[in-house]
């Protein structure tokens, strides 16, 4: 057994140092070598857009336009690094904080906010984006992801003979989620079925207020050992390394070699949600220390150093970010609540007597106000 505490910094795969210098790691280089400066600029752009959107959503919540916002600040490298390794026909099961991954799946980010404005429980068409809906019950979706992966395998989408066509599932969840029975059952089902799935833990070091030490006494990556699942632990603020390990894991899964677990060690720079007050359970010093490891700044420093980030590109991304913010604000404010009667839709796929009776009652009830004017 390794003698690592769950927050140990040892044994992390890293290809870009905290100070923005590129590190060589012969084991992982093969999975990063396709990352041209252009690809890295794209990663930087996606991370920047994610952050801009995130900031706008936070401010919309402060203004009362959203009921709640779940920020992914600080986790952009973990999300964009992995998201850019995903392709058709892979399928993604996010938790509820994967806005960066959503961007890589072409989800229209402003549209996602219907959920946080209280208009819908699920905002996008999962099939269209190969990106399942957010799941708020911690860990529940990991079993759906596993079942989906088993079904992909049955459908011949794995080890098909043409590696370019093979697919796998990527399933995201948090450090806190690892304690749930469902997550561990997912490991069981994935392992015995040799399912094509990459379990991707974003260890942002907190489950709301609880540090990872409340969930485990060894690294979360090690959890995989108990189930016979290969694993890797990566610096989650290093977008290159995250991309590389995800590439490796996906190739492994798509090739029919079964599940893999990735722990991306990162930091939740914002509070848990806009309802949370992180000052109650962690220090400014801790936050400051991690601000030094900002994943976007890290890549920026590197791109700058190799002369691949022109002012022109910066300006264009800044303009795009601003436009995204503006569109987000306008979109959210433009939304009207749909007619009340719509809450009776899609409870069942086929009519259900109880629902139909209640829908009819409510319709008459609503009409009675229109007919009689306001009650009482």
């Amino acid at each position: 057994m390794e003698a690592l505490g769950p927050l140990s910094d040892n044994g992390l795969v890293r290809l870009l140092d905290a100070d923005g210098t590129r590190v060589a790691d012969p084991d992982w280089e093969p999975y990063a070598e396709h990352l041209t400066p252009e690809a890295l600029r794209l990663a930087w752009r996606l991370m920047t857009l994610t952050r801009a959107f995130d900031a706008e959503a936070t401010s919309l919540q402060r203004q009362g336009e959203l009921g709640l916002w779940v920020s992914c600040l600080g986790q952009e490298a973990a999300q964009i690094g992995s998201g850019t390794a995903i392709r058709e026909p892979d399928y993604v099961f996010p938790s509820y904080r994967e806005h960066g991954v959503a961007l890589t799946r072409s989800v229209d980010l402003p549209q996602m906010l219907t959920l946080f404005r209280g208009l819908e429980h699920g905002s996008w068409d999962p099939a269209q984006h190969s990106f399942h809906l957010y799941t708020l019950v911690i860990g529940a979706h990991t079993l759906h992801a596993t079942g989906y992966a088993i079904a992909m395998d049955r459908d011949g989408l794995v080890a098909s003979g043409n590696p370019d066509k093979d697919g796998a599932v990527v399933c995201y969840f948090g450090d806190g989620a690892t304690s749930q029975g469902d997550v561990n059952e997912s490991f069981v089902f994935a392992a015995v079925n040799n399912a094509p799935i990459v379990f991707f833990i974003q260890n942002n070091q907190f489950a709301i207020s609880e540090p990872t030490t409340r969930q485990s006494r060894v690294t979360l990556a090690q959890r995989a050992d108990g189930f016979g699942i290969p694993r890797v632990r990566v610096d989650g603020n290093d977008v290159i390394a995250v991309h590389a390990v995800t590439q490796w894991a996906l190739r492994h899964a798509r090739a029919g070699q079964g599940p893999v677990l990735i722990e991306a060690f990162t930091y939740r720079m914002a509070a848990h949600t806009t309802s949370d007050d992180a000052t109650r359970y962690r220090t400014r010093a801790d936050e400051e220390k991690w601000r030094q490891r900002d994943p976007i700044a890290r890549l920026e420093t590197y791109l700058d150093a190799i002369g691949e980030l022109t002012q022109e590109y910066r300006d264009s991304v800044a303009a795009e970010a601003k436009a995204l913010g503006k569109r987000t604000r306008e979109t959210v404010k433009s939304w009207e609540r749909p007619p009340m009667l719509e809450m009776f839709d899609h409870i069942y796929a086929e009519p259900h007597a109880q629902v139909e009776a209640e829908r009819a009652w409510f319709d008459r009830y609503q009409q009675s106000f229109i007919d009689e004017g306001s009650h009482a």
Partner: protein, 350 residues
Amino acid sequence: MTDTNHGAPEAPVRESAVKTMTMAGAINAGLRAAMERDPKVLLLGEDIGQLGGVFRVTDGLHKDFGGDRVIDTPLAESGIVGTSIGMAMRGYRPVVEIQFDGFIFPAFNQITTQLAKMHYRSHGRIQLPVVIRVPFAGDIGAIEHHSESIEALFAHTAGLRICSPATPQDAFDMIQQSIFAPDPVLFLEPKARYWDKGDVDTDAVRTRLDDAAATADIGRARVARPGTDVTLVAYGPTVRTALQVADVAAGEGTSVEVIDLRSISPLDIPTVVRSAKRTGRVVVVHEAPTAHGVGAEIAARVGEEAFFHLKAPVMRVGGFHMPYPPSKFEHEFLPNLDRVLDAVDRLMAH
């Protein structure tokens, strides 16, 4: 909504298609027919493969369809239901067996927060045609957790359909209709009736397996025996008891109408209310404890819709508010012939 008695097949019966089967055999035959019809139908559960399930309901299916379609899963109910949800998202029709009623609870979260709500959450984009088969209810002399009536714990949750057959014919038809309905269905098999025999027409259902017809059929009650003095509402295991009560009562000059609900979600209230308005006296009989049981909802609805026709309050005969007791006590815990007759007699006093 329910104008005909759907227990009797509507299509003309071709002699050759009628076979005598036990209820377990009828479910087995229904599963087989569904698997033959659609390769997307998969069976999943503990010990359903070579063993054929602890009640042998899947007997022979592993042999004929292979381990890829009749899947022995790890021993984890949440995992079974959760992975079935994922498979359904890719177009499969998983039919899950929960080994006994008392072991469904590890899957309660997946059923209640995921399976039931995904269609709503996705605005109808995701359909989860998952069937959860559960051998349920008591009267088999079993140890703890093997005799429970769990229907009320799921009926309150929208998004699920719940049904329970009381005859081999219904078992054969309804399991297939549940499989081909687009919503998740909790399919409650009265285990003490697995060995009851009856005639089964294996042809009639074939034309009624598309989404809408299948859904409508499994939502309807059936007048199992017409009568004029008292309405006895039962489902699953208590239908047989209710019919016995009707026999005995007939000997005492009381005409009992027996309604086999078949469906618990939705409840076919119109059929019950129609009968209640005629008889003015209603008894609901289920094995589950009466307190907060399905009988409460029926009593409330009959009260709401037939109040001025009732000659006496709706009565409920069921289990007591206690854990299912050790089996030597179960005969008196259950709504047996004497207890139901007692209720009928008391109602007839009005």
